[in-house]
């Protein structure tokens, strides 16, 4: 049997490292040196870290002194939510688990069926309590790709003396991020979602915010994050930011591919539901429910056909729960349990979409239609 082609459509879980980034990491791995050491090897490592910090600052439209390197998006979210010093914390109901778990007793803000934050409810909640709050709303959702109106949210939050944290992990490299435009005070970023390496992320911290560190120790990252810097990771992150910034213009290409997939899947299965089509959405993300077929079944069947997608977030390995994101948007438990996430990235091509459509169509012909028909 000829080897079937493999199609990776799970970029929101992680993306392959871009070749130029891998080359930069390989060089940095052999560079050596601890950036805190004052001798030549240490100074060379320090220069590499600071050059990458500038590249990241350019992506986020901030000053280099606002960039705190951390181990990834989960740590960035924890540092923001636990380090801001604000006792009152409000988070949207569709946040990533790492935000929801950082402050378990945070107040949950509802979203509309469109997936967008209910701005009236936000204003009401903020007005109900005088304590200065920290509000956390993600820029783009990891499951649906729905983009929140962060600038409008920032205005409401700031009018009440609040701080706004924005998890921009999925949006970085796909949307312009200038913090001034977004108005967020704290911004979480992760390298491996945009073609950089796993194990490195950053929290952007507005200069006026005094952040309490999660990790105590040496005074690295100006006292905001202790621990020897992950130099190769930071170098790779910086390089990935440069390439991602250049690549934002080509994101339209991804939207075309994604929209093509959407049209073809719906043509085959008019009963399938695609989430977020009425809202601004990332160009690369497609969240679709095949009624009556559990998401795990779909993921396994597609994997057997060589197409890699996921059932929601990739986190707690193997455990497939109905998505809290889709439930918050008013999806029924059954709909939420039958939704998969298809996500494209920098190396995606038209042939990948053909492969997806073929494999999804075959599965639908086998499993989808009879169940859908019997339900009707």
């Amino acid at each position: 049997m000829a080897a079937s082609p493999l199609t990776y459509l799970d970029y929101n879980a992680t993306a392959p490292v871009r070749p130029a980034v891998a080359a930069a990491i390989a060089a940095a791995l052999t560079l050596g040196g601890n950036p805190s050491s004052v001798h030549r090897a240490g100074r060379a490592a320090r220069r590499a870290v600071e050059a990458a910090r500038d590249e990241l600052a350019a992506l986020a439209g901030v000053g280099a002194n606002e960039v705190v390197f951390v181990s990834g998006g989960s740590e960035a979210n924890h540092l923001a939510l636990r380090g801001s010093g604000r006792r009152r914390v409000l988070v949207s109901a569709i946040e990533h688990d790492s935000v929801l778990a950082a402050v378990p007793d945070a107040e949950r803000l509802p979203v509309a069926p469109s997936g967008l934050l209910d701005l009236a409810a936000l204003a009401e909640r903020l007005a109900a309590d005088d304590r200065p709050a920290l509000v956390s709303v993600m820029l783009a959702n990891n499951e649906t790709g729905i983009i929140q109106p962060i600038a409008a949210i920032a205005e409401i939050v700031h009018a009440r003396g609040g701080l706004l944290h924005c998890d921009a992990v999925q949006a970085a490299g796909k949307l312009p991020l200038a913090r001034a435009l977004l108005g967020a005070d704290l911004l979480s970023l992760s390298a491996h979602k945009l073609g950089g390496p796993q194990g490195i992320g950053a929290l952007i911290v507005a200069p006026e915010i005094a952040l309490a560190p999660l990790q105590s120790g040496g005074g690295q990252e100006r006292g905001r994050r202790a621990g020897t810097e992950n130099v190769p990771g930071i170098v790779g992150f910086g390089r990935a930011c440069v390439l991602a910034t250049e690549g934002i213009a080509t994101c339209a290409r991804l939207a075309e591919l994604r929209d093509d997939a959407e049209r073809r899947l719906l043509a085959m299965a008019p009963g399938a539901r695609i989430f977020g089509t009425d809202s601004p959405r990332l160009p690369n993300t497609l969240c679709i429910a095949m009624p009556g077929v559990p998401a795990a079944t779909q993921v396994i069947a597609l994997d057997l056909a060589g197409v890699m997608v996921s059932a929601g977030a990739a986190c707690s390995s193997g455990k497939v729960r109905p998505s809290h994101v889709l439930r918050a948007m008013g999806a029924t438990a059954e709909e939420a349990a039958s939704a998969i996430r298809i996500s494209l990235g920098w190396d995606s091509r038209a042939a990948d979409i053909d492969h997806l459509v073929e494999a999804w169509g075959a599965l639908y012909a086998r499993a989808g239609r009879p169940v859908a028909a019997s339900a009707a």
């Binding site: 879980a13 050596g32 050491s37 992760s190 796993q198 194990g199 120790g217 992950n230 190769p232």
Partner: protein, 408 residues
């Protein structure tokens, strides 16, 4: 020794690297193992629904086994972290906060040692601000903890004892087995920061009675940005996680595992396990040769820390009457440091050396020379010459200054 490359003595050549306790070069075998996981095998190890994810997950689990084997642990007792600083924070904060919040235990005391790494001391001070009580034990003049004093200091209110395995400045090896036995007998958790010990000295978490143990990738020829925390399962040690969310690492540490870095740490541990005994013997020889070459030519040179209970690669010495920072600045062909890299920019003399009883001047005159896997005999001979020459230049300048001030 034949076959060893000659040292490049040109002024612009790379300095001889003698700072292996600040960070080690990544072993080329580790680099080779890591690279495919960035590009060809890039899956998210938690995406076990598809083959790229499973391939990454399998690589991570192999690495976990290699880390566990280095310290006599089980795979599932290993939690990957971003480095030893995180491991130390997660262990100490996690253990005592869990006892307070979940167990409502009245064990609220933490006992540690004056010569610990800054991230352990800072973590303990942070917990002190949160209401825990803290005892920082002194050490003897050789850097070793006084076990009788420790036995007296710990009791029914003690939640956790944290003692590092090998000191990062003076290389002193603590008697972990004895400390572990003291703690075990009293129902106290024993954490050890083994960032400088793992892969350098034999460690066995069962024989040493260790409940929590921190490992760093970049101190054992692995990559930066990765570390591990050993968390004992029998009897089970519970932690309040520092980073919560996706529930990875059995809830101890959320966040996507960096597959390439996990692989790198695993390979680094496997290499260290294979080569540790022979490598330690080689490094002890190098260190003796280095020490002898300096001692012969620098009258009054002192050795800080125990001569016997010392990790193979470490020397910490004081040259009489000089400022070590000035010496190292005057000796650009050698890359060494006066102490922990974290405080390299600080002007305070080393608190570790002060804890041994050195006065400020003696501490200021001291510095650390660490040899490692890639150090050669010609490098040692070259570095000894360079350090002696720099010392003599500084002394001569000192003499001229004195003569000049005497003449006025």
């Amino acid at each position: 020794m034949t076959g060893e490359p000659a040292i490049d003595r040109r002024a612009n050549a790379a300095p001889v690297y003698l700072d292996y306790q600040a960070t080690t070069p990544t072993d080329p075998r580790v680099v080779a193992a890591i690279l495919p996981y960035f590009t060809e095998k890039f899956g998210n190890p938690h995406s076990t629904g598809h083959r790229f994810g499973r391939e990454a997950a399998e690589a991570v689990e192999r690495a976990r086994g290699d880390v566990a084997a280095l310290i006599g642990a089980e795979s599932r007792e290993i939690v990957f972290t971003s480095g030893a600083t995180e491991s130390n924070n997660a262990a100490i904060k996690g253990a005592v906060r869990f006892l307070r919040d979940e167990r409502r235990s009245d064990r609220d005391r933490i006992v540690t040692v004056a010569t610990e790494h800054k991230c352990v001391l800072e973590t303990c001070r942070q917990l002190e601000r949160e209401g825990f009580s803290l005892t920082v034990m002194p050490v003897k003049s050789d850097g070793l903890l006084d076990l009788a004093a420790l036995a007296e200091a710990i009791g029914p209110r003690t939640a956790l004892v944290s003692v590092m395995a090998v000191n990062n400045e003076i290389g002193t090896i603590q008697d972990l087995a004895a400390i572990g036995a003291l703690c075990r007998a009293r129902g106290i958790l024993f954490h050890s920061d083994a960032a400088q010990a793992a892969g350098k000295v034999p460690l066995d978490v069962d024989a040493m009675g260790i409940d929590l143990l921190s490992i760093s990738g970049h101190k054992l020829y692995g990559p930066k940005g990765i570390g591990a925390l050993y968390v004992r399962r029998r009897p089970r040690v519970r932690l309040a996680p520092l980073i919560d969310g996706g529930g990875q690492e059995r809830g101890f540490r959320s966040g996507t595992l960096p597959t390439p870095l996990c692989v790198g740490l695993g390979v680094a541990c496997a290499i260290a396990r294979d080569e540790m005994a022979a490598e330690a013997a080689r490094l002890v020889e190098l260190r003796r040769r280095f020490f002898a070459a300096l001692h012969r030519r620098i009258p009054g040179m002192r050795l800080n820390g125990s001569g016997e209970q010392r990790v193979a690669g470490n020397l910490n010495i004081g040259f009489p009457g000089i400022d070590a920072e000035e010496l190292l600045e005057a000796c650009a062909t050698v890359a060494a440091s006066t102490g922990s890299a974290c405080s390299s920019a600080s002007i305070e003399p080393s608190y570790v050396l002060r804890a041994l009883g050195l006065d400020a001047a003696a501490a200021r005159a001291s510095f650390r020379l660490c040899v490692g896997r890639f150090t050669t005999v010609p490098e040692i001979d070259f570095a000894a010459d360079a350090l002696v020459a720099a010392f003599e230049r500084l002394r001569a300048m000192e003499g001229m200054k004195k003569a000049a001030s005497g003449a006025t």
